[in-house]
Symmetry: C2
Subunit: 232 residues, 2 copies
């Protein structure tokens, strides 16, 4: 069954946005009274399709909540960013924080920031629907490194310099995390100055092993191994 | 240093193919006597660039060999296949076997098979160079399911039906694998008939956890968790 998000509930009916209604009616060619899934406020509902809205048939009982993962991603070329957003959403990322790294080759004009972020949110929304998540990742505004440094939780930094401490030893070392933030460097890596600064702000540098990964592979790798580590 | 593969050695000199020489001279704008890395027969050499070939400066001592991973991938649309080949190569896959699944929507004409495979090999070669591997994944011809069924080694099958046995319990259960083959289903999954047939040929169905992943995410997920499991 197709899944859509809504934030508009009244009188037992959800209103979906125009893009979603177009998708349901024109792309999926669904008819009135067909069933769809709607997620509202992180809860799942089975609904009947009407002409312009949907009516709740039943609520599906929620599953348990887990570890909260934030990926802190440098500004990257559009195609790489899109791949990261789609795949990290599929693999369950909770928050995405884009940030300005010293070696980012992409700059985003502050006038264009808002439209960029809504484009990114749209990609995450579609990926969340397709992978049948109950929530959508939150995307923040573009952070400076100083703002990244103030994040609360367990803070990790993917480092190519660090040779001793790897991500596995770190994920193994404690079983009761509730929130992990992971900073990923841009192409060419995070600069020594940035790494030193984040280390001084309690960010732990970790190696991802001996392979040389492209920047857009790193978030997919991280989300995969976190799923694996917490698989039951 | 840039890395290239060669299979042509004579008199202490490697000949590189035309694409690579073009890349070195025109894209990287390297000059004669600049240093490049050349991999020949799974060994690494540091070489001087000449006008039309390269001269060995020194051989770099080889590192240890590890687990051999084969991904058995259904025929997929070009863009998805390209992403899988690039990312699985970065993450260290050893062999890729494309196969005809019942629900593959892509068919490849036997006349076009050879050119497809050389296109795939080119993608793997470039990804192997960029991620500084010492070897290139081997890509076989397109297999039928009966040919897949005859593979030797530990044979796994990514299943959406299997709920009990997950990939983690399986990778944990033995530490002395030397060769693992993993079959991935197409969009819509491997059919019940195919799954039953492979199970009868000693393929073990495993779940990848509770997330719904797109088909092109599965190989990246698998290679990530295998790297993680064998990280030291």
């Amino acid at each position: 069954m197709q899944r859509y998000f809504s934030n508009n509930l009244s009188n037992n009916k959800f209103i979906l946005n125009d893009d979603d209604m177009y998708h349901i009616k024109k792309v999926m060619r669904m008819q009135n009274n067909d069933l769809i899934e709607v997620v509202y406020n992180e809860e799942l509902y089975i609904c009947f399709l009407n002409e312009n809205d949907v009516t709740i048939k039943e609520k599906v009982e929620n599953s348990v909540k887990k570890l909260n993962i934030t990926l802190v991603i440098p500004l990257l070329k559009e195609q790489k960013m899109d791949l990261i957003l789609q795949k990290a959403t599929e693999l369950g990322v909770d928050n995405i924080i884009p940030y300005k790294a010293e070696r980012s080759i992409i700059k985003i004009d502050s006038k264009k920031e808002e439209s960029k972020i809504s484009r990114w949110q749209k990609i995450c929304k579609e990926a969340a629907e397709q992978s049948k998540r109950l929530d959508m990742p939150a995307i923040t505004k573009i952070y400076t490194l100083e703002e990244v440094a103030n994040l609360k939780g367990i803070n990790l930094l993917c480092s190519t310099k660090e040779k001793e401490k790897n991500i596995k030893s770190l994920l193994h070392s404690s079983t009761i995390y509730d929130k992990i933030n992971i900073v990923i460097g841009p192409e060419g890596g995070i600069s020594p100055k940035e790494e030193e600064y984040l280390n001084s702000k309690s960010f732990i540098s970790v190696s991802l092993g001996s392979r040389i990964l492209r920047v857009e592979t790193v978030p997919i790798f991280l989300m995969s191994i976190i799923n694996y580590e917490f698989m039951e």
